[in-house]
Subunit: 442 residues, 2 copies
């Protein structure tokens, strides 16, 4: 895509309303635009990141055996009256009356609806276990939306729901999601630490938050350094191996990790002092096991193997998809802009033509652009080199190919790695081969 | 995916509330489930079709030079007050008040919002032309929602918006979308005919509807048989060739095609009688050119080449994405169920094990299933063959591989093509090679 034809608007000034770095950079790099308080449009570069994040989540959900559906945004109030949460939710719930004066709402989460849908089909223990998820826009009418998409009102969430015949089986479902989450965040280049959590309004007894470590995080966290360098995504632990998954879960949860709220000084004192880490964290996922809290009031029941009715055990598993885009920036930026990890970058390459109109520079850039049809943004504007360097660093694509007249005369281009700042001058073909190599990320 | 683990619920009975065949089949084949009047959840098979339809639309929009963004579902009322449409829209608009009593609405379309967003960035003629689209859920509070997702309240729409400096340039943008639409529908295996249309509440003078021909269509259509067998997708007509695209547009629109409303008996009489076709149609796309109808009141203006302000010319271009899933079924079914065209089928293959527990049948099915990891549903239920045949025909995947004990003993399986009913008995390896061949669709 040529920058002169693209809709990739960058801002030179730092927007005054943005208090945190990810919000500032998302506005400046043209990823999002606010359309109402706490509500954003995703511009082309932002949407591409959002879709890549979504796709990694989808692949890992599917790999763990979860099946994707899509529930609507608008829900009938009576579902929530049945579970008893209609009044509990307070003003955060966006309530709506339709033209026939029926009470509706913009879903903030989907425990009630999925239980009702599943009830329409599940009749026997043979219909269990199932784990069903969707990736859909939610609305929570925050009193003070802030920090951009980090705490917006309309936000994209992946929420999965498990249905099992027994408590043991549903705990296995919980552990499957626990592993899937670790793999998901690692694939995005993030260090996520699972921490025992309060269950809050969702209910239930067993719950973990997944916290990304970032200097600009919202809350203090305490964890054991053993979490560093764990390779969850690379392990071949299977999702159907019940004892192995239980052992894995016990091992990971035995390592100390806690948010400020749940921090336990006694347990912390037992951690090897050399291994104690304190930092700041951003919550990007939350999983819950809540037994029959929703299946019971919503009337979900199946015939067990002996013909007797059984109320299924449930859990729910959320990831803040749109919030993750901001969290990724909090964890990957410098004073010049974003440093996208390869797996989620909107485009892989910026091609910087330092002298448009120069026949050699133009020819090299056209060649590179044609060779990377969906992976590159070609800065073909007639701007000063300094403007192009600044925009490329701001937008933060993993590779910059810098094409100037001196190098062009020698058949060379400069390759810059945004994440590390490393630079090298290479013959054009070598640079291209490097960019086209599937392992160029490594 | 094994049917015993999948969430692919089929219904034996025909739901009483469904009046048209696509609605009946979508409920019976487990594609959708109603959650409120005119509001549906998409179950796994339905969602896979929806995503394939969406992806074909996206690819053709991108190929035509349009750029994807994503606007939110909830819009502020003041945007619509500025354009003057807030009152016009009546009760079809779902109006909402947030916790601070601000007037909001669930977007039924996005002319106002995109114009406002674009205004935030475009300052010069150099920022034009641009064509920007999104694929997002919309809401229209129909007084009597019916026919399933064909006329639902919450529905998925692709809407593109073009911004141009001159009327000539914006007419070119219109023709680009005209061609992109013909290609899009053809790729889905649909015959779509563009018909001159009323502009309705969107406004403007130039407008075409794209009508899919289906026996169960909602309105009568009249068209020239020359439309049959046209290959828009296969042509190499480029989107940047202004005169060629104009010639193409003139040629296509010179062929007679009209809905009942716009039907002109005099012009119809001039069509060769042997070439006159009458049928029923379903509207799946609608494109509009409306000049400055929104850019003017929304205050969009850019500096022209001479420094003088210019109000950009606009058009908008919609495709009913969720409606297309129903239209595809209206155009592709028989008395036993759906006959998915290859390009949009939820899965490519049904593997029918006629005797689960038989070692040879099980082994063949497992082998086929492993070879088609994301393309096949394996019916491994311990059901009668008749139940499996009926469900496979109902769900309508393009290929059925029928594995019975007699064939298994001879190392053979039966391959059935759902669209045509053709069957052939083949050695296992040959059947597999046929299913794995990229051209298996042909």
């Amino acid at each position: 895509m040529r920058l002169t034809r693209a809709f990739l608007p960058t801002l030179k000034e730092t927007p005054a309303e943005a208090q945190i770095v990810s919000h500032r950079l998302m506005l400046r790099a043209g990823l999002i635009r606010q359309t109402s308080a706490g509500i954003y449009a995703w511009l082309p570069a932002g949407l591409r990141v959002l879709r890549k994040v979504e796709q990694i989540i989808r692949e890992e959900q599917n790999r763990a055996g979860a099946q994707e559906i899509l529930m609507p945004t608008i829900q009938p109030a009576d579902l929530w009256q049945r579970s008893g949460r209609y009044d509990d939710y307070g003003k955060e719930m966006l309530r709506i009356k339709d033209r026939h004066d029926r009470e509706m709402l913009f879903g903030p989460t989907n425990e009630e609806m999925i239980t009702d849908i599943f009830r329409g089909y599940a009749t026997s223990y043979r219909d269990l276990p199932r784990n069903i998820y969707h990736i859909q826009w939610k609305f929570r009418d925050e009193v003070r939306p802030r920090f951009g998409v980090m705490r917006g009102r309309e936000f994209l969430m992946k929420d999965a729901y498990s249905f099992d015949l027994t408590k043991e089986s549903s705990e296995h479902a919980y552990r499957q999601m626990f592993l899937a989450y670790l793999r998901t965040f690692q694939r995005m280049g993030l260090k996520a630490v699972p921490m025992r959590a309060d269950t809050g309004p969702i209910g239930g007894k067993l719950s973990h938050e997944f916290i990304i470590l970032a200097e600009t995080g919202e809350s203090a966290v305490f964890y054991d350094a053993k979490f560093d360098g764990q390779d969850w995504a690379g392990s071949d632990l299977g999702y159907d191996d019940v004892p192995a998954l239980e052992g894995f879960f016990e091992q990971v949860t035995s390592m100390y990790a806690a948010t400020e709220e749940m921090h336990d000084e006694v347990a912390w004192a037992a951690v090897d002092p050399a291994s104690r880490r304190e930092g700041k964290g951003i919550e990007v996922g939350h999983i819950f096991h809540f037994g029959t809290k929703y299946s019971e009031p919503m009337g979900l029941s199946v015939a067990g193997p002996d013909g007797q009715p059984v109320v299924p055990q449930m859990g729910s598993y959320g990831i803040g998809v749109s919030r993750l885009v901001a969290a990724l920036i909090e964890a990957n930026h410098d004073e010049n802009g974003i440093k996208w990890p390869d797996a989620v970058a909107p485009w892989k390459v910026s091609i910087l033509n330092l002298k448009t109109g120069d026949a050699a520079c133009d020819a090299i850039c056209e060649k590179l652009h044609a060779a990377l049809p969906d992976d590159a943004i070609y800065d073909d504007r007639s701007e000063r080199a300094g403007v192009k360097f600044a925009d490329a660093d701001l937008m933060g694509f993993p590779w910059q190919v810098i094409v100037g007249p001196r190098g062009a005369a020698a058949g060379k281009v400069e390759l810059k790695r945004r994440m590390t700042g490393e630079r090298e001058e290479l013959p054009i073909e070598e640079a291209l081969a490097k960019l086209l190599r599937p392992g160029a990320e490594a």
